[in-house]
């Protein structure tokens, strides 16, 4: 049996392993989502309100507090008061930086704190009394009486079978690639083995250590990233090494130079992944240490536009790319700052929406975001806009419940898109290429057509690693990597990859639900949505479902900056998830139990 035949047979195993692992992970994360949504309805421990009626002080009862608690007449208000003078969303009590605050939500919603009217966010301390309509709420800090803070449910789910499948995939893929590199390609074997070996060592090491060191470490999320990285590593090794044109072995100088060049380009890819993994614990530690990350968000307000501006000024194209998103640094290093700008953008987003921002804050943020989007348009980096705009809207809608405004913003965004279509010829070209996809082949859609041909060739199970023909697809390793995936691994694996990104989103969203502070909540939402949107937009683009924009498929596509940025973002996601309830509060001095007097 030839090697191609073995690869062709192995595709069943590959597809089976990936599909099964994806389904297992999806199952676990759906169950986790359900559990956490149920748990989220548990109130905060250590704090509560005592509700009483001014007219009838005998009817006092305890009211639970959530990290955002809405008081109002609305059906979905957490504390419901149906009486005259109480608005739908009357007031909110929320936890911010470990401090509880009270805020009136609607203008004209009268509310008093210790007898004084409240018109802005006001700090709450023990035994404060809130007046609202005929109701009176007394704020109780139960920690003063020794009440413990209940930790959120530890993320103990894991899928050992999915780990086994991932490792089997990694191992068999590595062996297959090892044998595919024969004859003149044999000198490339060390590069393959070193990279794969390093990856196996680090990823397994963290998998074994981190859950024990970090309580609440999300193993499902880590496994999902692990699986995606394995698929990416196999694909990139195959694209870099297999079937590449080599000079004759007899031409020693040219041959060695080419081998070196190929090995180096794979080292960059694998190296970025390994570097990301190496600093993963550090990133997690930073994210766990609450405030530091929020401080970084301050910097992000300035740094995000600066990154885009720097790319605009210093950026250069790479090979055949039209966009100029790469900054060339000394020693031949190229850096794609826009990838890191996305992280900062989400940090700022999370910072702004960590509690319901006032209208003025919202306007300021809108201006800031618009400025950034303008910069992205200039670059042009349509991909970033297509990812960050929906993510912004999602975080906005979830954190503020302003669905009408979100809808209006969406309409406004579409109008803006129309203006962009009129103004920018490159937008017109992209749209034209997409619209004419099934009618004719032109310069604007040739890439997608070749990609779709590959997708069609792949069928359900693919043609096997090394058996495809990615050579002719422009940007096969980066923008069009999904086509190669679909050709060599098949559509089942392609669908599984989409499922894996759904898993990432579900993990992020479910931990956002139980996060006990607004910053964690909105960051988890934002970051998880970025992964998901990015995947959907690049997969939809390469398969002609939507117009193509130059976005990279996280963990799979070529690009050192991209993969490093994605691992860092994943580290932040993993870290913020493990923030415990206790982290959210200011420390209070719990009084020593008083010795009972007189008795010795």
């Amino acid at each position: 049996m030839t090697l191609a035949g073995i690869a062709h047979l192995a595709r069943y195993a590959f597809a089976g392993a990936i599909v099964l692992a994806a389904v297992l992970l999806l199952h676990k994360s759906l169950r986790g989502m359900r559990q956490k949504m149920r748990w989220a309805l548990h109130p905060v421990h250590g704090f509560f309100l005592i509700e009483s009626d001014v007219l009838d002080r005998t009817q006092a009862r305890a009211q639970k507090l959530y990290h955002t608690t809405i008081i109002g007449s609305s059906r979905i208000a957490d504390i419901r008061r149906k009486e005259r003078g109480v608005r739908k969303n009357h007031a909110m009590i929320y936890l911010f930086n470990g401090v509880w605050y009270l805020r009136p939500l609607e203008s004209g919603a009268d509310i008093w704190l210790n007898g004084k009217p409240v018109d802005k966010d006001t700090k709450l301390t023990h035994s404060d009394s809130i007046g609202l309509g005929t109701a009176r709420f007394d704020f109780i800090d139960d920690r003063l009486f020794g009440s413990p803070i209940l930790a959120k449910p530890a993320s103990s789910e894991e899928s050992p079978f999915a780990i086994l499948l991932t490792l089997a995939l990694l191992f068999s893929g590595g062996v297959l690639l090892f044998f595919l590199l024969r004859g003149p390609y044999a000198p490339l074997r060390p590069a393959l083995m070193i990279s794969f070996g390093g990856f196996v060592f680090l990823s397994l090491l963290w998998r074994l250590i981190l859950p024990h060191v970090i309580p609440g470490f999300d193993r499902i999320l880590y496994q999902t990233m692990h699986l995606l990285a394995v698929i990416g590593l196999i694909l990139q090794a195959r694209l870099t090494f297999v079937g590449r044109v080599l000079p004759e072995v007899t031409d020693k100088v040219a041959y060695n130079a080419r081998i070196d060049q190929l090995a180096r380009s794979f080292y960059v890819q694998a190296g970025a992944l390994l570097l990301g993994l190496l600093i993963l614990p550090l990133v997690i530690a930073i994210a766990r240490r609450g405030r530091l990350l929020e401080k970084l968000a301050y910097a992000g307000i300035v740094l995000t536009p600066l990154f885009y501006a720097a790319t605009y000024v210093l950026g250069g194209g790479l090979e055949t790319h039209g966009a100029r998103l790469w900054i060339h640094l000394p020693f031949g290093v190229t850096l794609q700052l826009t990838e890191f700008a996305k992280i900062l953008f989400v940090l700022v987003l999370a910072y702004v929406f960590k509690n319901r921002p006032t209208a003025k804050q919202q306007w300021l943020f809108a201006l800031w975001a618009l400025f950034n989007f303008g910069l992205m348009f200039m670059l042009p980096d349509l991909g970033s806009i297509m990812i960050l705009l929906p993510v912004t809207l999602i975080v906005f809608a979830v954190m503020t419940s302003e669905f009408l405004k979100t809808f209006l913003l969406l309409v406004g965004g579409s109008a803006l898109a129309l203006v962009a279509y009129r103004l920018f010829p490159y937008v017109q070209r992209r749209i034209f290429g997409w619209m004419s996809l099934w009618d004719e082949i032109n310069d604007q859609n040739r890439q997608i057509v070749y990609g779709l041909q590959a997708v069609a060739r792949g069928g359900l199970f693919g043609v096997g690693v090394g058996n495809g023909a990615p050579g002719g697809i422009p940007l096969a390793a980066s923008d069009m990597v999904f086509s190669v995936l679909a050709e060599e691994f098949g559509m089942l694996v392609g669908l599984s990859v989409v499922v894996l990104f759904i898993v990432i989103w579900l993990r992020g969203a479910s931990s956002a639900v139980i996060a006990r502070d607004g910053f964690s909540s909105s960051f988890l939402f934002g970051a998880a949505s970025i992964f998901f949107m990015e995947a959907i937009i690049v997969i939809g683009g390469t398969t002609g479902l939507i117009p193509l924009t130059g976005v990279t498929l996280p963990f799979i596509a070529q690009g050192g900056s991209s993969i490093l940025a994605k691992v860092i973002m994943m580290g932040l996601l993993l870290g913020v998830q493990t923030r415990t309830e206790a982290d959210a509060y200011e420390k209070v001095q719990v009084p020593e139990p008083q010795p009972l007097g007189g008795i010795t």
């Binding site: 049996m1 979905i76 208000a77 419940s401 060739r457 023909a469 639900v513 479902l545």
Partner: protein, 468 residues
């Protein structure tokens, strides 16, 4: 908190819908690409070269390997003349020629199988990666001869087995070597165009077969009709006359007029029959209907003419479109018509692919013998007699083969071909009724001292007996 949870649920629903839409969209896009992007102009040559390294063979009915990748590189027939003769049928892996076995059957050739169990069986045996072989009905030897007979002039030959519909030879000239096509160099004008399947030729006097049939079935039919032919005097003012032969046939009846191909007689017959019946009869013979060739595209023949214009009708009746008249036929269709007359009125569905063969040598998708068009019984025998007369003592004497019962009809036409050249073409359609030689032929050749009847005779003289 409840608000947040509600919002999360809304977004969750939104994302799930988005995900499901994406998943479904991906499957749809894949399915759509499979049918839509089989072969596209400007396809990526590098990809194609890589892919055809594993493609199956294309084999002629006489066992000649017309395309093969076992060396790791796609190679075409070793005999250059065979490769040139079958170029437009076999095609090239770069898909520079579009309507070919290489492009239209690339699914099986490249091993894209729908049957997953079969695929798994092949995979386990280590053969899953090999493409399937395509077995053609054409004979490499006869195709080569037919191609050589055209002598490099523009033209086409189609040779059919009229009992089964198998295409024995289908050649189009000029042609060139597959290497030139792949490298896109030294390609003669219109060499990539398959005249045999896609040529749109005016049928000329070969159309008189249909006119005669229409007349025989019309109420106006008079077996004893005689028309006085004075050569250059049109049948009606500005109607048909002897535009090529300029012969003065004198007073002729149907038999004499058919064997001598008298335009005046058939112009009159066309007028007597009327446009409706003529068009109806043409449809019976398959004009304006799909020819039914599987896998490859065969161009449909067309007939359209003004209803109340007797001069144009007289021209159409002799197969020469004039004015607004549209009358085009492909060599494949012409051969099918001749075959239908010889085969008791059954025009068989043509086939160029005999069967497919998977790497385990199992034959599948074998071509089935079916009738495509049925000719009315009452005209078959008279037409057979008329066409025999053409070869025994008429204009088609050059097509005669010693010891064979050949029938046929000649034609000459002045036309602009699809490649844009204004030329005189010589046509011949005919058949061999000798038992064991069920061959029908159509020849169209640029008339530079060549007679289509002569070429047809040379080819029919070299066919071999088919044992039942």
């Amino acid at each position: 908190m409840k608000t947040l949870l509600r919002n999360v649920r809304i977004i969750l629903a939104f994302f799930l819908i988005l995900s499901i839409a994406t998943l479904i969209g991906l499957v749809i896009q894949q399915r759509r690409s499979e049918t839509h992007f089989r072969a596209v102009a400007g396809e990526n040559k590098q990809i194609l070269r890589e892919r055809y390294r594993q493609a199956g063979k294309i084999i002629s009915a006489d066992g000649v390997i017309l395309a093969d990748s076992s060396s790791g590189e796609r190679k075409y027939a070793a005999d250059g003349a065979v490769a040139e003769a079958l170029l437009q049928i076999v095609g090239d892996y770069t898909h520079n020629i579009v309507n070919t076995v290489e492009s239209q059957l690339q699914g099986p050739l490249l091993g894209n199988r729908d049957n997953l169990i079969k695929q798994l069986e092949l995979d386990v045996r280590g053969l899953g990666f090999h493409g399937d072989d395509v077995l053609l009905t054409v004979l490499a030897s006869l195709s080569k001869r037919a191609y050589q007979q055209l002598g490099g002039h523009k033209g086409a030959v189609v040779l059919l087995n009229y009992e089964t519909g198998d295409i024995i030879a289908s050649v189009s000239s000029p042609s060139t070597s597959p290497t030139n096509v792949v490298k896109w160099q030294n390609i003669p004008d219109s060499a990539l165009f398959n005249r045999a399947l896609n040529g749109r030729f005016a049928p000329g006097s070969t159309f008189k077969v249909i006119t005669a049939a229409a007349w025989m079935r019309s109420p106006a039919f008079d077996p004893n009709l005689e028309v006085h032919c004075q050569g250059d005097v049109p049948v009606v003012p500005s109607g048909a006359f002897e535009n090529h032969s300029h012969a003065n046939h004198g007073t002729v009846g149907l038999g004499e007029a058919f064997s001598q191909s008298c335009n005046i007689f058939f112009g009159q017959v066309g007028i007597n029959t009327g446009p409706d019946l003529l068009e109806q009869e043409a449809n019976t013979f398959g004009v304006g209907r799909p020819l039914g060739l599987p896998y490859l595209t065969a161009t449909q023949s067309r007939i359209e003419f003004p209803r109340n214009d007797r001069p144009l009708l007289s021209w159409a009746a002799i197969g020469q479109p004039a004015g607004e008249t549209v009358l085009t036929m492909s060599p494949l269709h012409l051969a099918m018509i001749a075959g239908g007359v010889a085969n008791d009125g059954a025009m068989m569905t043509p086939h160029i692919v005999a069967a497919l063969k998977d790497p385990l040598d199992a034959i599948y998708d074998r071509r089935s013998v079916t009738t495509q068009f049925k000719l009315p019984q009452e005209v078959v025998r008279p037409l057979d007699q008329l066409m025999s007369g053409v070869v025994t003592n008429g204009t088609g004497r050059q097509a005669a083969v010693r010891g064979h019962e050949i029938g046929g009809k000649t034609g000459t036409v002045q036309m602009t071909d699809d490649a844009g050249g204004e030329t005189i073409y010589s046509l011949f359609i005919g058949y061999d009724k000798t038992p064991g030689y069920p061959y029908a032929i159509a020849v169209v050749v640029e008339n530079k001292g060549y007679s289509a009847a002569q070429i047809a005779g040379n080819i029919l003289a070299n066919t071999s007996k088919i044992e039942p």
